[in-house]
């Protein structure tokens, strides 16, 4: 594997950048693997990488039905933060944020991690109460988070309209300075390259169509390219978790919904932080290319269509223009939808399943991207040890039977 550095960049510049080596192989699937990871998104690729790196399990395949990062990894709005309310969630997302902080170096791949800060706006009394409580809970958990009055919000984001005349005025915000963004494609590619280097087979255009079991134990998967045997199988197919679970014969507390986003034409730098509003359903940041990346709320109905209704976009743009009047004349260039798996408590499921040797990572709802490295790290640990790590032990499927739900609807920041 060619190491990326200033030296390799300079050397390849001399040959017109035509001689860079391929970043990962494209192998035919073998007949049997120790572990098969279903789903070549960020979480699946991170799982494979940490299986090889942390646990020495490198006879691993990642099976992806389309192309790497072509699902939710390439469709999210790239926001990272860890300011969740409950202790369990703060531990989960902060573990991930700490991995983000050294990820580019770890992978020798620039994921364009940018700690530009995240503002979560409050618009009414209950938002203020919830926001202040969440900021205090974050601080008790060692997460950098504070409560800001409108003047302080305006100092951080001068183009934000903090006039009291708004229909939904900005009456404060929580602020996490260590939050920010990363380039989502680069995260998938960086993990893919690093996993491939450690011997993981990444197989694209290989759709899993069935999960073979014998005596309650998984033995492999049926795919569009034939049967592949495995000692353990890990499902990381957020959006389609229920479809995979049905193949394996059990049900999940998950519903799939479209979540839309769009980008504007590129403009000069105007917004150097991330602004989110759960109450009026919009969140926005500016990419390094200059495009505004804008997310909406989910469509109410179940869908696998990767598109949503136009009235959701209309509401999102109305909220955006009220908060940022200067964006009113911007043209929007692209609009798309992803399919998010939503759990009743807006928290993910990472753990074992009723089938022995079959593991599940899903139900991330509207906020899985921020957890990519931490999710892969914990899921790899869970697969290697056949039991959840203490950080993801509260996030198993059993919580729905035991009743210990982890309600993060407030911190999820996208209404669902």
């Amino acid at each position: 594997m060619e190491k990326f550095s200033a030296w390799s960049l300079a050397r390849n510049a001399l040959t017109g950048h035509r001689r860079w080596s391929r970043q990962w192989r494209s192998p035919e699937p073998k007949r049997h693997y120790d572990v098969i990871v279903i789903g070549g998104g960020g979480h699946g690729l991170a799982t494979a990488y940490y299986l090889a790196k942390n646990h020495g399990i490198d006879n691993v395949a990642v099976l992806e039905k389309g192309w790497l990062g072509g699902g939710n990894t390439g469709r999210n709005t790239t926001i990272l933060r860890s300011n969740y309310l409950w202790d369990e969630s703060a531990a989960l997302y902060e573990h991930s944020l700490k991995l983000w902080e050294s990820l580019s170096r770890e992978l020798n791949y620039n994921v364009m991690f940018s700690q530009r800060g995240v503002l979560n706006l409050a618009h009414n009394t209950s938002d203020v109460r919830a926001g202040r409580r969440r900021a205090e809970a974050n601080r008790l958990n060692g997460v950098d988070s504070s409560w800001l009055e409108p003047d302080a919000v305006k100092d951080i984001c001068p183009i934000l309209n903090t006039s009291v005349d708004l229909r939904y005025p900005v009456v404060g915000a929580t602020y996490q300075p260590r939050g920010g963004t990363a380039r989502h494609d680069a995260v998938a590619w960086g993990f893919a390259r690093a996993a491939d280097e450690r011997g993981v087979d990444i197989v694209q255009n290989c759709e899993v169509t069935g999960i073979r079991r014998e005596g309650g134990r998984v033995t492999g998967v049926e795919t569009s390219r034939g049967f592949v045997g495995a000692g353990k199988v890990a499902m990381v197919t957020a959006g389609h978790s229920s479809v995979l679970a049905e193949m394996a014969g059990f049900r999940l507390p998950i519903q799939s919904h479209p979540l839309q986003a769009l980008v504007s034409e590129p403009i000069k730098p105007v917004l150097d932080t991330v602004v989110m509003s759960g109450a009026i359903h919009v969140y926005v940041s500016q990419s390094d290319k200059g495009e505004l990346v804008i997310g909406a709320g989910i469509d109410s109905y179940n869908s696998y269509a990767q598109r949503g209704s136009f009235h959701v976009v209309e509401g999102q743009m109305a909220a955006l223009v009220e908060l940022f009047p200067m964006f009113a004349r911007l043209r929007m260039m692209r609009n798309w939808g992803g399919i998010v798996d939503v759990c009743p408590d807006a928290s993910p499921i990472i753990g074992k399943t009723p089938v022995e040797g079959l593991y599940l990572n899903g139900g991330w709802g509207t906020g899985g991207f921020k957890a990519t490295p931490g999710s892969g790290w914990l899921f790899a640990w869970t697969i290697a040890h056949d039991e959840p790590h203490p950080i993801n032990a509260p996030f198993t499927l059993e919580r729905f039977t035991g009743g210990a739900l982890i309600d993060e609807h407030g911190a999820a920041a996208v209404a669902h």
Binding site: Y301, N302, Y304, A305, T401
Partner: protein, 89 residues
């Protein structure tokens, strides 16, 4: 935007309706007799098919009555609309 035919008011825009999730989930006759797993199944576990799905809608900005819709979750085509108490077609 979906166009949904309310059984009482006729075809209207989706924005007049409120979504109610999976249809035909009967409340257990005797909740105290259920195990934790059975109660969790009733409370949280849901079908989430990629294909035809029977779901509930309520005409929130109209007659405010609940009804059932069978809809395809990939094409969004509405396959049937029927009143509560009627069997799924």
């Amino acid at each position: 935007m979906l166009r949904i035919s309310c059984p009482w008011c006729g075809v209207r825009d989706e924005t007049e309706f409120h979504y109610g999730g999976q249809a035909h989930i009967a409340r257990p006759e005797d909740p105290d007799a259920l195990t934790d797993a059975e109660w969790a199944d009733f409370l949280f576990m849901r079908d989430n098919p990629k294909g035809a799905f029977a779901e509930r809608w309520m005409h929130a900005a109209g007659c405010r009555r609940w009804f059932n819709v069978k809809r395809h979750t990939v094409t969004h085509e509405i396959l049937a609309v029927y009143r509560p108490g009627e069997p799924a077609p």
